[in-house]
Symmetry: D2
Subunit: 354 residues, 4 copies
């Protein structure tokens, strides 16, 4: 089968690999649609290290091709979706309700980011087939009336973005700011609206993205190239600051900006992937006395999470199709990476079909 | 092997059965100590229906005798404990953090009381061997320096009793009442202390039990045969009522008494097993306007829960050995049932050893 | 001034009273719009006892006419709204985050339903003027661009209905049923949507109300005169039941129906006012072993709550104007009571203007 | 009256001031015992700026000398305690359950650290009398059988320390580390035990303090001058890390150490007062993907909090008398500051009596 394989920093190529063999508790899924994530670009650039030879990608929509021993309740040919995070459900972390930090089978317990396996520690989804571990915990059937593209954001972007609002504990009547309106930030905007925020402020530097922010639920948009977002937000909130600030990029500037507009007692919900050293100026947190919370979240996975997100799509509450701006065949995935890594042509997300 | 088998209402007998065969994901445990639970007596009396021929019991301490395919990270001969509730970890209920309502393998979702399998829907632990389903999620190694009897309460009584305090959301400085001081109520008393309640009121009709209540952390004990507990509690609390009331018996009288002493805004944490119809007089809940919560809980299980409870035992924070009042061989289990069902001789819990 | 006064069961009349004098910490508000609540009808019928001579009503929109000593930060003539519940903010219950059970000034602590003062323990709002206790905690300025009728539901109906979804802990992707679609049930429907429920089922016996339910966010409506709601809901949910059931009427039938469609692990969020004895059949709660929660809620009040609800109105997220079906002058309030108590002419809520 | 007054950085002197006049809603308390806090030393050193002429101190035990208009339910001569934080109960922050960020009377809303008034924005407690604002929300009667010294830690140290464990969401069976065992860290240790932690690790550099740690509930103590605490803790926890890490000092080193031993999914509960810039190395938080929470807390106040802490003392669950190592007359407070600021003679807390 064909698969997009990491060779070395700077090089992901389409290669041939054998179709994987299915072990107990696993399932083989024939990919019908997948996509490229910002994390994949970090891998491409060598900023996030993975083993050479690994198939990349973690956002699968497909059809069940084979079921391992012990995987009951599913049929061959069934359309399914699987989260980017594939918890085992049976380790200490999973049983303690932290399944994104899944420690895997056996008595092993907790492993940071351990729930992220596809395209990280096992072969991923930018291929014709993918092997799903702990299939009972992870295969979620897709309703017939939803297209692949309608649900393509569920495995990662939508789950991550929504969790920004959920873990930020957004309440009815809250003012929420989301810094950065890439795909995850846009989903965080949609998530804040779904949780009842009534003033949603979206910040980005690209007006085309801010236009989509408004479609996702933003009441106010700020282009940081035109106005200072901190001044603007403090003015809008009469000097109080926001109830919840969502960081959706992973830089010092966005992280610190969140702190600078956060009310005493507020929550900074962080979705970004950071490198180096974050700095937390004491004055932004009132010397540690402002009763504030900083919470970091890795994309929630597992079939129950996918079921809920499919419900959101099916209900029409949120429509994420505008995020799919480009389409490529798997055969052309190297070109897709080139477009996406360089953020050309207003790209948000690319649908890849084998 | 020998096993205590339900024959028909009124009859549980010691019988011969083949040692079970081990399937994928399962483990065979050789029982070293088990016990009889109040629920088993309900089964004996025909008040809780199970299939004739079923082995009874759900509180296992033992040694791993065989491991099924896919169960890695354990060794043969390892001492383990398993909760009364054995979640699969992979169904919708388990993945939604309600593993006691486990829907089992496959796409099946939620099943009321579905997590309770031993001695309910599959063969139980009052036998020489027991087959543990979803072994990776359920086998917890026992530290060498803890005896079987020290940990024998973990699978059910301790997990259930503590959850009464945990789900009642006991806070530091709370006043908590526990109605009934059988084994579960005594553990709820210990749990309330562990969560920081500073005035714990234990109610029962047997002074010997109330003496143990005080060892478990009760600050005040009330023998309801000597004083009206409602009057007494309202006097103690200056008419305010308690912050949390824990029901640990399963009768109209204890349930209603909880409501009658519960402050506005308080929590009734219910552990009892009810039959027939509970009545909720409108005046006890201020017509539904008192911001009160009633929460029912089934014993939490899984190996992470067991790990935490073993920690409690190992730390010496709570010593539940006083609850083991009698010891019987498995060969004499019919006599043990007779003693326990008739609550003779001050029995609290009986250690059964094959 | 004119005031609607309770005389005896069956009789509320428009009477003359002196304009109240303003004490320390209080404010006098000139009513511009108020309304009649279902609770007022209970008072009229003598089902909820209040002192003869009391002015009825608890939903005020008005203008500040006078400020007592210590009430700073407000101006005479300012348009304000006040919740139906007026917490003091300083008693034990208020400081413990249960301000609807406010115990009032002094060392007194908790009082069931104590936060409900207007038209219950002190003179209410169906009058030309109302005296607001603990004014600093309760006066909330109304933005200029919102009309009285737009915000008229905030003090009670909207606050109560939304709290049904909030305390039911509705999550993104939940299925929620609301039994009864009177004004409170309709607001609970809107609240469930605001919290991210993706399948909202509204049950009532009047098709005109169910039409409004759909405008408020219901995805499915069931007229219980045409179909059995329990059967229908269990079919829709494939036998699983709903995640959250909201009771918005206060009868045995709706309460029990909630339990009959509630999934294991689900939450029954109760808003109704009950009388007599509620019955809780053991089979509806799996004998107390289904990990379910029943939570009762009295309307949340205080100016922070009002601020949030005004935000909801101002953002356009929810439009409750369709609930105001009739308008009367205060002079004609007796006729308004007659219409409302008899539920004639499709009445939902009546705007009363002095 | 005599009062310890801040003159300029480096100088706090005992001075004469008039006894304050009592306004509406206020109370005058005659101090019987107070103490010096680490924050007072920051003020003395000019590290935390206050207005010259301000009376310092925020930990009052005393007797009611006068009650302002509207303060009912108390008697002259009554022994009372008041928290270091004195919320108004009526502003937006207080009504939103963040009373330590109290915005004060009027429509003003939120103010960072606004709840801390004594010895910060109004005259404090190191004097013969102190004026208590919003007295109804803040005066808590002391049971007769408790001495001043028994309750002297309640206003600040105990409330702060316990909140470290409470906001860290310590659960039964948790492993908790507390970095630094000054008075606040010692109270955090006691609080972790009260919430059910079963392995409590206390870290400090002074063995005398670690001896008290063990009395407060520590199971393991680490002198960082003798062993590397990070290595040691990772070894003790088999490489998993701790469930909750409590920072009780306010330095980069202790903050970063908390992160380095925190398990994925864990909580860093921060009590320290920081200056300059905190650094958060990305590798300590798995690049922001470890589902961790950092929560900062300012001492909770108000009479309900004091009531709960008095309950803890009265119940004997925690005995903080060992923390009072020295006693001085108010007349000698300058000497007391000298001893305390230089941490001579094993000082933990000093009781000051006028």
């Amino acid at each position: 089968m064909k698969a997009a394989v990491f060779v070395k920093p700077g090089q992901i190529v389409l290669d041939e690999k054998p179709v994987p063999e299915v072990g107990p508790g696993q399932a083989l899924v024939k990919i019908t649609t997948t996509t490229i994530c910002g994390t994949d670009v970090h891998i491409l650039k060598g900023e996030y290290p993975v083993k050479p030879g690994l198939t990349i990608g973690h956002e699968p929509v497909g059809v069940i091709a084979e079921l391992g021993v012990g995987v009951t309740g599913y049929q061959l040919g069934q359309r399914v979706i699987v989260g980017a995070i594939t918890p085992c459900g049976q380790c200490y972390a999973c049983l303690d309700n932290h399944s994104s930090q899944c420690g895997g089978h056996g008595t092993g317990g907790w492993k940071a980011i351990g729930g992220w396996k596809f395209g990280n520690t096992i072969d991923g989804t930018q291929a014709e087939y993918v092997l799903v571990p702990d299939a009972v915990a992870n295969l979620e059937p897709i309703p017939d009336d939803l297209t692949d593209e309608q649900v393509l954001m569920c495995p990662d972007i939508m789950s991550t973005g929504f969790s920004g609002a959920e873990n930020g504990k957004v309440k009815i009547g809250d003012t929420v700011v989301i810094f950065a309106q890439g795909p995850i930030g846009l989903c965080a905007t949609a998530g804040a609206k779904l949780r009842g925020a009534t003033r949603i402020i979206a910040v980005d530097g690209i007006n085309e993205r801010l236009a989509i922010s408004r479609r996702m639920g933003a009441d106010v948009t700020i282009n940081f190239r035109e106005k200072d977002p901190i001044e603007e937000i403090m003015k809008i909130t009469d000097g109080k600051g926001v109830d919840v600030a969502i960081e959706a990029l992973g830089t010092q500037q966005t992280f610190e900006s969140c702190l600078r507009v956060l009310k005493p007692g507020g929550v900074l919900s962080s979705l970004g992937v950071y490198s180096g050293k974050l700095t937390l100026p004491a004055d932004t947190i009132a010397a540690g006395l402002a009763d504030q919370t900083i919470i970091t979240t890795l994309c929630p996975g597992g079939k129950e999470r996918m079921r809920r997100l499919l419900n959101v799509v099916a209900s029409g509450r949120v429509d994420l199709k505008p995020l799919v701006t480009h389409r490529f065949k798997l055969d052309d995935i190297e070109a897709a990476y080139d477009l996406f890594a360089n953020q050309r042509d207003g790209v948000l997300k690319i649908a890849i079909t084998p």
